[in-house]
Amino acid sequence: MRKACLFFIFSFISAQWSAESAYLIENNRKEVGFFTPFKMRINNGSEIGIHKFLLMPSVSFKQEIPMYNTWKMARKFRIEYPTPGLKWIQSPLGKEMGEPNMFSLISSQFEIPHMLSFYAQMIGTKGTVKSGQLSLRAGAGIALNGKNLSDDATIDLPIIYPRLSVYYNDFIIESGGQYFRQFTDRLYYLIDYDMYFMPGGVGRYAFEQQTLLVWQKSNKLHLSFGYKLIVGEYPFGGQAHLLPTINLKFGW
């Protein structure tokens, strides 16, 4: 059960890992990572992504749009239903408060209402992976029914706090970018950043910078590892964290 709890946390940590360019996944190809969503192309020319952590279901659609100068462009929409996951994290082992309720990240004194969040994002990509591919993205998210969630029920940890903040603040602005480049036959590197602005929140911003070394063993398997540096504001004040990251991704 402790592993399941860690998996939940790493699911969050890694949710943004997949190289997020404006290019869609190839026709008939499917991808899934230990911690990243399942992705596939659907018939209408869109890419669908499904987060496999069933307690926090999330579905995204990415569609190509006309190019802007030399930039390849795409738009992405995502919907997320966090309620079952947040309820589970209140008592992962099914214990009562004070027993102690081990691995609980949100006190069970709080009611978790049914909530939904919607995100819209624009992505632009320039260049090739061989010579260096730059992608920039920006978007916003809104939440429904977050007003019924107590502002004291936050999880004040890096990665998790900004990604759940939309449910406490009703609104979030996201932007990010990445540089992805191949430097040998099988090795790539990725430098990535994400910024979260949480207007009205007690913690108002988070900045994440990640560097990954990617080893593509074949078209079917690739392994990545690196670090993620997070600087953010939380209800207790500002703090920086440095976390290791690792992922194994499969494609077919």
């Binding site: 709890c5 209140q90 408060m97 004070g98 102690p100 309720n101 081990m102 691995f103 609980s104 990240l105 949100i106 006190s107 069970s108 004194q109 709080f110 004291d152 029920a153 999880i155 004040d156 940890l157 540096l229 997070i230 600087v231 209800p235 207790f236 004040g237 703090q239 920086a240 964290h241 440095l242």
Partner: protein, 357 residues
Amino acid sequence: MKIKYFINSLFISLFLSGCDPLVTTFDEVEDAVMYQSNIIKEYPAKESISVMTWNIRFGVARLDFALDACGDRVIISKDEVITSLEGIAKKINDLNVDVVLMQEVDVQSKRSSYVDQVQWLLNKTGMNYGAYASKWKSQIILADGIGRVDAGNLILSKWKLEEPKRHQLPLRGDQDGLTQLFYLRRNVVTAKVDMPGTPFFAVNAHLTAFATDDTKQKHISGFKNILDDIVLSGYSFVAGGDLNAIPPNATKSNFCFEDQCSLGDYDPNDDKKGGCDFTEEITWLNDLYGNYEPAITLEQYRINELKHYTHSPGGKLDLDRKLDYLWTNTSWSNGQTHQTATTLSDHIPITADWVVE
């Protein structure tokens, strides 16, 4: 070149600050954290100093907190915490005490809505300086949604505090390694009060409550050793705290039936339950009573035991035991247990006047 140097420095700084430990551990002796009031008031030296000890239950008064009582809440709202602190500050100001030995003070804890209670109390009372030592400091406690916590012991003083030290006490010996890692690190905090003409030491302790082995005995012994060292160095002290031990002449020593949250929780045939049965520990304070002067003597306690009770758990307002003490190597006068403050915490403040010699 300068820009490159700046960027490199920024990233190195971020890397280092990103390496804060999940759980903070402490050296045997290390500096306590110093605070001061936003506005420093001037105080002359006095011949009689009013000293208080008070476990303020991290500013949640008698609310139904889940972990030390029978409540169903772990996170207390900022408004509730401030209301409680206002009551505590009023009591300190009304009694016009000069030195306060405070236990269970939160400075950055989710459970008390991240109110920095040390700074808040300094700004709202006549106190000028504070010396704080964490007993529980972790970025996350993975239980009951407690989250981030930084709680500890505090010395407040009207006069400047010097040589603030945090003295680590032994960890509980009856816990597994993982629990022990995330559990409390009890300590004694000491500081020299720089009263003009007569500097003296203030010593504040919060000893283990729930250990079922001899950890509490080690804590009492560690506390006394610190007092002995101060006397050996030629200084006097005012000391106190929540010792989680009852006087040797207490008429009742087992509170396990009274403390159970619901009937049947306590079975005397079970293993020893920590925190409620003091029967085997009844003599553990003899050494302190034999060597130092208490603010409430054993004779005063014997004559009217009820009047000197300082604790009842959680929301129960009927005080039923004495756990809090003031000590000195010289003498006290006017020792009082302020039972009118019963609603402000699960512990009652004790004050006494320390006669400067």
